[in-house]
């Protein structure tokens, strides 16, 4: 185990290298670009065992990943924002085809106008594609989650693609210290891919031909089951990682100072880290508030959220907005709690288009709730 100080993107590339990925197909887009550049360097230096396909678009990147994964290769791609949106059809495809592709998505706002800064509307808009979704809050977590994502996605009871999200610039271009295990340790944690189905000349199957109405729902049911399985397997993997490497980022949620509090703040990604600072500050002032950082959006951590709400009221900060409704996390948390508990749930939207959100902003939002001065629902960036 050694410590390096590097950007989220370079760390992601490192994880890809150490996961012994067979095929990478990716297309550049700010702020993801330095991942593929780094992988290209590895290739040039002979430090990458796999193949790097320079595709001509993200749509083709995901299509190439599907092709490679379908013959049994461990497959990775990385993108951001418009690139992710352009993949949309193929995201659905990869999930319905049950291919354990892993993707790093560097969260970035959607245009027009062009905006290259972080917000999560890009990946939130993919919540209905069937992908497992993680959100990271540190470079260490990026590294660990990418390696874990292969194990999870390839698990025989899961067989699903996994998206590892992290904030553009805020993590992608920020250097932070990361502990890197030895290659052998990683190999032990993550053995070669075991395959459930593949294109095999000795076993000629056809994948993806027409399926009639009577059979189709079974395919969807199976995906839903796989997500239910993933729920437990994520926990197992988190614990295994902790045992092996002594690093633990939480499971579907990371709970931070949540014992015996009146309020729990929920946020995702880098905001989740900043929220820790906010919680610390508020604690100092004697506020009984903790943080549940949402690491996994799909499968949605329903049970965990309900458990939280049994003892505390919730304050949710979304770095996204489903226009015409509200923040996606806010919606899904309330939906999960409905009929189960009656904690109060407060929602904010903040950090759209890279608008900076400081721990002070977060404290302000929380305190306003705790002081009984907030009942509504707002875009803090504008109305703050």
């Amino acid at each position: 185990m050694r410590i390096v100080v590097d950007t989220g993107n370079h760390i992601a590339a490192k994880a890809v290298q150490m996961a012994r990925v067979d095929v990478v197909a990716a297309y550049p887009i700010t702020p993801q670009t330095t991942i593929v550049e780094r992988i290209a360097e590895y290739v040039e230096k002979g430090e990458f065992h796999g193949d790097y396909i320079c595709v001509e678009s993200e749509h083709s990147a995901m299509s190439a990943c599907i092709g490679a994964s379908a013959v049994g290769a461990r497959t990775f791609t990385a993108t951001s924002s418009h690139g992710l949106l352009l993949m949309h059809e193929m995201l659905h495809w990869a999930a319905l085809a049950r291919l354990p592709i892993v993707m790093a998505n560097v969260n970035r706002a959607i245009g027009p106008g062009w905006n290259i800064w972080s917000d999560q509307n890009d990946s939130i808009s993919q919540r209905d594609t069937g992908w497992i979704q993680f959100y990271c809050s540190s470079n260490q977590e990026i590294f660990d989650t990418i390696i874990q994502a292969f194990k999870l996605g390839e698990h025989e009871k899961v067989q699903l693609p996994v998206m590892v999200n992290y904030d553009g610039f805020i993590l992608s271009h920020t250097s932070l210290p990361v502990k890197i295990p030895e290659q052998e340790e990683i190999d032990e944690f993550l053995p070669k891919r075991k395959i459930k189905w593949k294109l095999d000349i000795n076993n000629p199957i056809t994948h993806g031909n027409i399926i009639m109405p009577n059979d189709y729902p079974k395919i969807r049911r199976a995906m839903q089951e796989a997500h239910e399985n993933a729920h437990g397997i994520i926990k197992e993997i988190s614990r295994e990682w902790e045992e092996r490497f002594g690093i633990y980022h939480g499971e579907l949620l990371e709970l931070y100072k949540c014992d015996d509090v009146d309020y729990v703040l929920l946020s995702m990604g880098a905001l989740g880290a900043e929220s820790k600072v906010a919680v610390d500050e508020m604690r100092k002032k004697g506020r009984k508030i903790g943080l549940a950082r949402v690491r996994v959006l799909r499968p949605f951590p329903k049970k965990e959220v309900i458990e939280l709400a049994r003892h505390s009221d919730l304050i949710v900060i979304d770095r996204n907005i489903s226009v015409g409704m509200e923040g996606a996390l806010f919606t899904e948390i309330k939906a999960s709690l409905y009929g189960e508990v009656d904690a109060k749930v407060y929602g904010y939207i903040a950090g759209l288009g890279g608008k900076d959100v400081t721990f002070k902003d977060i404290s302000k939002m929380c305190e306003r709730v705790m002081d009984g001065k907030y009942g509504g629902y707002m875009i803090f960036d504008v109305e703050g």
């Binding site: 319905l96 085809a97 199957i205 056809t206 993806g208 395919i219 199976a222």
Partner: protein, 89 residues
Amino acid sequence: MIKYDVVTTISYPKKGAMGKTGGWRAFKPILDKEKCVRCLRCWIFCPEGAIIRKEDDSVEIDYDYCKGCGICANECRVKAISMVREESK
């Protein structure tokens, strides 16, 4: 054939996946073995693979699957195949 236990659309090869498609026919090809010169044009052009090529390159029609398109008759240069209306139609 190995069956995969992941539920996704994996399909296995099957003759007659759509059933005995001979039932789709309105016209039926009739082969006159006498005239046939074993050129195999009917065999290679039959869209259904419903012309069976024998060891000796003589041919036979598989009526279970022949859809009655008439290409074999049209392409046979010695007119060894003719199309006749299906009985009950």
